[in-house]
Amino acid sequence: MLDQVIFYFFAALAVVSAILVVTRRNAVQSAIFLVTALLATAGIFLSLNAEFLFIVQVILYAGGIMVLFVFVIMLVNLDVALHQVQFNRQWFVALIISAVLAAQVVAAIAVSRRSLYTMPAAPAESLEPNTERVAFYLFHTYMLPFEIASILLLVAMVGAVVMAKKRV
């Protein structure tokens, strides 16, 4: 019962803020609603017993990446931006894509003999302490991808610095 309430609350929060992200004219407000959406997602992670991912989401996504976003928005946010047209006239394309997507999801659920729709998302037994297991997989099974990810971050860092430098 409680977990249902939690899920629907966070899901509604996530969807509403996501909609606001793409509809607000002001980029700073968009960023704030994106933070809200990310935090709501983090809440869903927590309700799925993914504590470590929850905190990664909060620290990295909300606390790190989004601060970067807000920072950049403040640097480039011109007063004129508010008076410009903020939307392309491509609603039609967007609608079609959304409709196709919705059709796919519905089809997927229908094809899978409704089990997806009734199957509870969690096995009964609770997982062992989440952080340890994540650590085990991260540093044992997925060691190589982990290192590659760190190289990716390094490359991104160098790239960002080079890109944002005053004179290239």
Binding site: I44, L53, Q57, F69, Y142
Partner: protein, 100 residues
Amino acid sequence: MVPIGHYIFLSAAMLAIGIVGIVTRRNVIIILMSVELILNAVNINLVAFSRLVGSVEGQIFAIFIITDAAAEAAVGLGIIIAFFRNRETVLADEMDILKW
């Protein structure tokens, strides 16, 4: 218990919203943010299914996606700053020359 289908719907909804954002907005920063939304939608699915099969490997994948999002945001915003410095705009449809 929340059925897995609801997670899929949530994820699909956020994916759709993200796509709408990418397609309809002119501001590159908001387009980038919409990309983040899409990545986030993927993460929801991964974590929900990881719970379903009782393994945390889906979460590992989600962590990699977050790492990727960080890299993408850093580079993307770097590009935006460089572009803004040169053209004083962040609108996607004004980014219409390949070289300057």
